[in-house]
């Protein structure tokens, strides 16, 4: 599926733009990855004795796969609420720079902060990656509506698969569970790698992967933050050096 040209009348109404966003769910492999991942999360929630409403609410309101997996596994293994909350908070730090980098792509001089609240909520890895791919093909004043459509479409697919996984849980093998958990790193890695535009993006990605095991030796509880800020800052340094050269 390709989107209408930037000057097409299709973009004159924001409802149409929302619909084009929702339809774009069908043109990305990441939708399949989300579908499978949320089958896994639904099954995990069932096996940990949470209710279906709990699983669905976590998909709709947390809307971050790794955070949900951490939440369910830590609570399931008997951690206190404070311990799980801390583990989830650290894994969620990545959402901050993602939201910060996504919002300027769709802001216009007329945009108020409250217009961007839903976009901020919908922002997770999948949406972040797809923003860089889709938004250049969407007129600026329709980007918020388009992202609302895309994000709501992705959450709907995920709610359906959470429900399917919850109901299938008893029939899923450990092999299947492992395969589903492996999907997240593979899909995150390749979708980010495809989005790399210049050398500093590549440095950030590769260094971020390599530095994590090193930072993990510190066992500080915020290892991801330590390796991420270090690798990101070095990558930025490379960018500055290239601009100057």
């Amino acid at each position: 599926m390709s989107l209408p040209a930037l000057d097409s009348p299709q973009w004159h109404s924001s409802l149409r733009a929302f619909a084009w966003g929702a339809r774009s769910v069908g043109s990305t492999v990441l939708t399949l990855v989300l579908f499978a991942t949320y089958i896994g999360i639904g099954a995990l929630a069932h096996d940990t004795h949470f209710s279906l409403a709990w699983a669905m609410a976590s998909t709709a309101f947390v809307w971050a796969g790794p955070a949900q997996i951490i939440l369910i596994t830590t609570l399931g293994s008997g951690a206190t609420v404070i311990q799980s909350a801390l583990a989830v908070t650290v894994s969620a730090i990545r959402l901050f720079p993602m939201v910060v980098s996504v919002l300027p792509m769709m802001r216009t001089p007329q945009t108020k902060r409250r217009h961007l609240i839903l976009v901020a909520h919908l922002t997770a890895v999948t949406l972040w990656v797809e923003c860089f791919r889709f938004l250049p093909q969407v007129p600026r004043d329709r980007r918020i509506a388009f992202i609302h459509g895309l994000g709501c479409g992705l959450i709907s697919v995920s709610l359906i698969s959470t429900t399917i996984g919850y109901n299938l849980a008893a029939n899923l093998s450990q092999m299947f569970g492992a395969a589903i958990l492996m999907l997240t790193p593979l899909a995150f890695l390749f979708s980010t790698a495809r989005n790399c535009r210049d050398i500093s993006d590549v440095v950030a990605l590769v260094l971020g992967l390599v530095l994590f095991p090193v930072a993990a030796l510190l066992n500080s509880g915020v290892d991801i933050l330590v390796s991420g800020v270090t690798a990101g800052t070095i990558a930025y340094g490379v960018h500055r050096w290239r601009v100057r050269a």
Partner: protein, 117 residues
């Protein structure tokens, strides 16, 4: 238990979801909203923020492979690293197809787990 109460489960668990799941994620998103709605698209700060976002995400990827959660922990480390390497090879061999990379990585992981138990 009626269907309705079975669906909702107990309210205590939903309160925990709010405290340990929803708040910790929304705090970062809303901070991003507060901070990001004032920042210019071409600014240098944004270049740094994007690099950090990419590197933190890389850390999340590495963590799942190095310190695997749940059922993934039953897969030997060698197999997890081999799956990642095979996925990368397929990704670059196919002019950066996400689909090829994911499928190849999964096949190697499943084959390895089946082989080594």
């Amino acid at each position: 238990m009626s269907y309705v109460s079975e669906f909702f489960g107990d309210w205590h668990a939903l309160a925990i979801l709010l405290v340990a799941g929803v708040f910790p994620n929304q705090i970062w998103r809303m901070l991003g909203l507060w901070f990001g709605s004032g920042i210019d698209e071409g600014s240098e700060l944004l270049v740094w923020v994007r690099a950090v976002a990419t590197a933190v995400l890389a850390g999340v990827i590495a963590q799942i492979i190095v310190q695997p959660p749940g059922a993934l922990a039953s897969v030997p480390g060698v197999v997890r690293y081999a799956a990642l390497a095979a996925g990368c090879a397929a990704f670059f061999a196919t002019q950066r197809s996400i689909f090829a990379g994911v499928v190849c990585g999964e096949i190697v992981m499943l084959a390895g787990k089946w082989w080594l138990g």
